[in-house]
């Protein structure tokens, strides 16, 4: 029997992987992907709680999250592509034109 705790642990592991990816990767596309992983970890725990507590609210929220993640990726990737076209870089640390 798969209990709530299994879901939560899996969700925690996924989230940690996402954080690790954001912190270590130098490629902005990989960072965006890692953010997706973190969002999905959150989705997983929402759905798990929803089914455990018998409350549909959690599933509704996770649908919202999916929708927002989609638009976020669309905008984020668009920015990444534009920056790459203009300056030929993918490392976010080098995107420092707006720094003083």
């Amino acid at each position: 029997m798969i209990s709530l705790n299994h879901y939560l642990v899996t969700s925690g592991i996924l989230f940690a992987i996402g954080v690790f990816g954001v912190l270590t990767r130098k490629n902005i596309i990989m960072i965006l992907l890692s953010i997706e992983i973190m969002l999905n970890a959150a989705n997983l725990s929402f759905v798990a709680f929803s089914s455990a507590l018998g409350d549909l609210g959690g599933q509704v929220i996770s649908l919202f999250v999916v929708a927002i993640a989609a638009s976020e990726v669309a905008i984020g990737l668009a920015i990444a592509v534009l920056i790459f076209r203009n300056r030929g870089i993918l490392d976010p640390n080098e995107m420092n034109l707006m720094k003083w």
Binding site: V19, V22, L23, T24, P92, N93, N96, K99
Partner: protein
């Protein structure tokens, strides 16, 4: 009555405020304005004093303004009107009016005419303020204002370096004394607690301090120290040894200023303060003793220096020092009343002497008595005035100086034989230098070819008035104002003392006259024999050199050390290296936290979240 007193105080202030607005073309009007305000103040004072002449005694304390109200201290801005302050007011406004009137002509062609009169008005305002003050702090403020106006008037001809220096010297010397005065006031404030309220009010100080002294014996010592500190203010203002050095230099100011401020009134403010606080001084025999000896010493010390001076104003300045010494000594010997009496008569005849000297200077444009000679034929009125003043100063009957000086001598005779002989020998010295001045400047043959003429009525009238008071001052019954239980009784006239002082006076004048009748050769030989003495006296007993040494070898290195300490240790060490250096280094280190790398920030952020969650979990677990 109180409103009259307030009016007396504010009249000179009004003239001081209005004078700068008088246009230069109407300068005459400005002079008359100042003169009129002073004269009005004098009339009002006379009105105030009428009951006193009729034998009535009153004390009025009027304080409509609550000035400082702190827990444990309440001070009012008030007036204290009693026989003592009215007598002093009479002197200040009376002599003041005469001198204001005299100045109208004396300063007529001076470019700083309006500045001069506004200075005089400011002075009169502050002096009246001192006289009427009801508490020590109020008095101290006016005391400083008087010092300021004295500075302004000494330096009236500020383009002349000597005058500017003299003003500075006067101000700085007074600061030394006033510093002690202020500490003394603060000490008295801490001592005076009656019913938990501290006070500086003259009327309440006496019982408060008596309470304090009853508590323990060690308090007596502290109280004596406080009173001596207050006396140090008197040392400065009344130019007693060792702070007397400024007064002779102050003669750089215009002569009427010397007459009013540096002879008749301001320098007498110190004696007035002694009289005002006499009940307190009387509680400390040691302080009185010190005061008496300093006064007695100054008397003789200054009189000897007057003998060799050639500048007529400086002679009078040293004689002022000497007479102030008499007054201070009288207070120290236990009778402030006698001191105040001499102050009053001295104000008349010293103002007279200065004004007639001023009239001589105005005509001859010369201050050196060896260059004058024979003035009595050319300026008989002025010379008569000067002679009357000299008579009063030496103390010949019936001039006013006779009465007051003999009271002082009799007092000394009954209290302290040593001081008596000091002051009696000063009578001889006084006669000697006044005889010398008269014989050099007014008798003999004229040394100047200028056509001399008497000044106009504006200068003669004050001379006549002051001459009258110099003679009649002893018969006006002014003693009644100050000879009271609180100020010390008057001394019994002693026929031995009177005979001795009068004969010494005659002897002194005779010696001076006959010396200058001698042939030039004999005079020369005498002067050569005593050249060393002359040298000492000309160098003012090396007092100025002593101050110079103190300044050069003590004050200067100290100041340099402090300057070095401030520059190297405080500014460069503590400020530049320690404070600024630490900030710069700390900033440099902290700067490294701001890497600009998103991922560093994120790591810290995540670590923070973990820490927060950890603590929240622990709290839930404990509950």
């Amino acid at each position: 009555m109180t409103s009259r007193a307030w009016l007396i105080l504010s009249l000179p202030l009004v003239s001081f405020i209005l004078l700068p607005f008088v246009p230069e073309e109407k300068r005459k009007f400005g002079g008359w304005l100042a003169c009129a305000s002073m004269f009005l103040a004098f009339i009002l004072t006379l009105k105030l004093s009428i009951p006193l002449f009729q034998g009535e005694i009153f004390h009025v304390y009027h304080a409509p303004v609550e000035w400082i109200a702190l827990p444990g201290l309440k001070l009012e801005f008030g007036l204290l009107i009693d026989p003592l302050s009215i007598l002093m007011l009479l002197v200040v406004t009376g002599v003041g009016s005469a001198i204001f009137y005299y100045s109208l002509e004396y300063m007529e062609h001076d470019p700083g005419y309006r500045r001069y009169f506004s200075g005089l008005s400011l002075f009169s305002f502050s002096m009246i303020g001192i006289v009427l003050s009801s508490n020590l702090l109020e008095l101290f403020i006016f005391w400083e204002l008087v010092g300021l106006s004295s500075y302004l008037l000494i330096g009236h001809w500020y383009q002349k370096p000597a005058a500017a220096d003299a003003g500075k010297k006067a101000f700085l010397t007074n600061r030394v004394g006033d510093f002690g005065f202020l500490i003394g006031i603060l000490l008295l404030w801490t001592f005076s607690s009656s019913d938990g309220m501290r006070t500086l009010n003259f009327l309440q100080l006496n019982p408060a301090i008596s309470n304090f002294l009853q508590v323990s014996h060690s308090h007596q010592t502290w109280f004596t120290i406080a009173m001596l500190l207050i006396f140090s203010g008197v040392l400065g203002k009344s130019a007693q040894f060792p702070l007397h050095v400024w007064l002779p230099d102050a003669m750089e100011g215009p002569t009427p200023v010397s007459a009013l401020i540096h002879a008749a009134t301001m320098v007498a403010a110190g004696v007035y303060l002694l009289a005002r606080m006499f009940p307190l001084f009387a509680l400390s025999p040691v302080a009185l003793e010190v005061i008496a000896y300093i006064g007695g010493f100054t008397t003789l010390f200054a009189a000897t220096q007057a003998i060799i001076q050639k500048d007529i104003k400086r002679i009078l300045a040293y004689s002022t020092l000497s007479q102030l010494g008499y007054m201070v000594m009288a207070v120290g010997l236990g009778s402030a009343g006698i001191g105040m009496y001499h102050l009053t008569t001295h104000a008349f005849f010293k103002a007279l002497l200065f004004l007639s000297a001023g009239s001589v200077i105005h005509a001859t444009e010369e201050q050196d008595i060896t260059q004058m000679g024979g003035l009595i034929k050319k300026m008989p009125l002025t010379s008569t005035a000067f002679l009357i003043g000299s008579f009063a100063l030496i103390g010949f009957w019936p001039a006013s100086g006779f009465f007051s000086k003999d009271e002082i001598l009799s007092l000394a005779f009954s209290k302290n034989q040593f001081l008596f002989w000091v002051s009696v020998s000063t009578v001889f010295m006084t006669a000697l230098y006044m005889g010398r001045t008269i014989s050099l400047a007014f008798l003999g043959s004229s040394k100047t070819r200028k056509k001399l003429h008497e000044p106009t009525q504006k200068m003669i009238f004050p001379l006549a008035l002051l001459s009258f008071f110099s003679i009649a001052g002893g018969f006006l019954g002014l003693q009644r104002f100050v000879h009271s239980e609180t100020l010390g009784r008057h001394a019994e006239a002693n026929s031995f003392v009177i005979l001795l002082s009068t004969s010494l006076g005659i002897l002194g004048v005779f010696v001076a006259f006959s010396f200058y009748r001698l042939r030039e050769k004999k005079q020369k030989r005498f002067q050569e024999t005593f050249a060393w003495l002359n040298e000492i006296l000309v160098r003012k007993y090396y007092m100025d050199d002593l101050y110079d040494l103190i300044l050069r070898y003590i004050q200067q290195p100290l100041a340099q050390f402090l300057s070095w300490f401030e520059k190297r240790i405080i500014v460069e060490g503590v400020v530049n290296q320690a404070a600024a250096g630490f900030t710069a280094k700390a900033g440099n280190q902290l700067r490294k936290l701001q890497t600009g790398r998103i991922q560093t920030y994120l790591s810290v952020f995540c670590a923070g979240v973990v820490v927060i969650i950890y603590f929240l979990t622990i709290r839930t677990l404990h509950q």
